[in-house]
């Protein structure tokens, strides 16, 4: 039984997943109350689903990039849950979670996954289809919308993730005959804790036990000063 925790941005996401069945999933925008409500929310979810903490055998967490505060809270909780009973802890890059939840019809299209970075900037990661799934094509970057759009190569892009009004406007106003941008629909472009759970389970299946030691997991902070 895997519990997935995602507090990387203003959304709080939780999921319970067992043997390729998604048992429960909840996600909502809490703003900056993660530190207060994460523990009681987890307790509530377990209770609702008749699951004991002792039933948990794996923990998954969105390990970054994202908000420093949000990541600290989620990763600390995940580490605590995992370390106490020596459970494997699977950290999944926040951008990967977005990508794993997107489909594709044209394998030549690229995918841009977006997260807010604060101070008017965004975190973006580019993905391309490789062996039937979205694969990281470049290191994630922090930039403004204008800087990102100017850096794009001639291609067709899907855009998914957390895109605010500024981003939607930038995408709508973007004109370049060589580049097409397709903004994925509102709910579909959101990252989901159920997808985090699914992806973590998949990685655990194909991974090596050592990769998942709770003590080793460190959050991914981009542009970490000194």
């Amino acid at each position: 039984m895997l519990i997935a925790i995602d507090t990387a941005t203003k959304y709080l996401g939780l999921a319970l997943y067992d043997d390729n069945v998604l048992l429960a999933e909840q996600m909502w925008r809490t703003g900056n109350k993660h530190n207060l409500i994460l523990a009681p929310t987890i307790e509530q979810l377990l209770q609702t689903c008749d699951v004991n903490t002792s039933d948990l055998t794996m923990v998954a967490v969105a390990s970054g990039p994202g908000s420093y505060t949000g990541l600290r809270i989620g990763v600390a909780m995940a580490k605590g849950l995992a370390a106490v009973r020596n459970l494997p802890l699977i950290g999944v890059n926040t951008l990967d979670i977005i990508a794993a939840g997107q489909t594709f019809s044209n394998t030549k299209h690229r995918l841009l996954c977006i997260l807010p970075a604060g101070r008017g900037r965004i975190i973006s990661g580019e993905y391309r289809v490789k062996k039937g799934r979205w694969d990281v094509a470049a290191d994630p970057q922090i930039s403004t919308w204008d800087e990102l759009l100017e850096s794009l190569e001639s291609s067709s892009y899907y855009v998914a993730g957390e895109i605010d009004a500024t981003g939607i406007e930038a995408i709508e106003n973007f004109e370049n005959p060589e580049i097409s941008l397709a903004l994925i629909d509102t709910a579909i472009r959101n990252r989901r804790p159920g997808i985090l759970a699914q992806e973590a389970w998949r990685r655990y299946d194909v991974g090596v036990a050592d990769d998942f030691l709770a003590a080793k997991l460190a959050p991914i902070y981009l542009n970490s000063p000194g």
């Binding site: 900056n32 420093y68 505060t69 604060g118 902070y221 000063p225």
Partner: protein, 166 residues
Amino acid sequence: MPILREGELDIISHSPEQTRRYGIRLGRLLRAGDVICLSGDMGAGKTVFSTGIGEGWGSQKKVTSPTYNLVHQHNRANDDTLLYHLDCYRMQSIDEVDTIGFDDMLDSKGIIVIEWAERIEDALPADHLWIELRVVEENRRNFILEATGQHYQKLVDDFKNAIFGI
């Protein structure tokens, strides 16, 4: 009493006690989302002034220097608004302000009081109240308030009324 321009105010303090009282008056006027920047050398009165702001606002714990913790978070009895008190003295790069969740503070509609605000000028919202604190001599400090934006111009106006009754 020199008044420079709309939204500007130049005042003198003759003691830490007076500085604190100025702070109290300002603290009483602050509303959710207000950003107050304090800039000036050590000993000019930034922390004393901040302590006054906290008192005027109604902070449950006394506001003290957050130099080592970088940020203190205060609450008060009447509601669940927060007052964040930052000290950017030890920040070596502006990116460090992200690590303490500055953006979350701005979104939270809490009140933000920033000492050594010049260290993070680029991260500040366009509208804010900037207060320059200067040591003139031992019992004399000069505070120059400069408001950016209509909201803060009104705040300075209200502050002037509170001190001088005009």
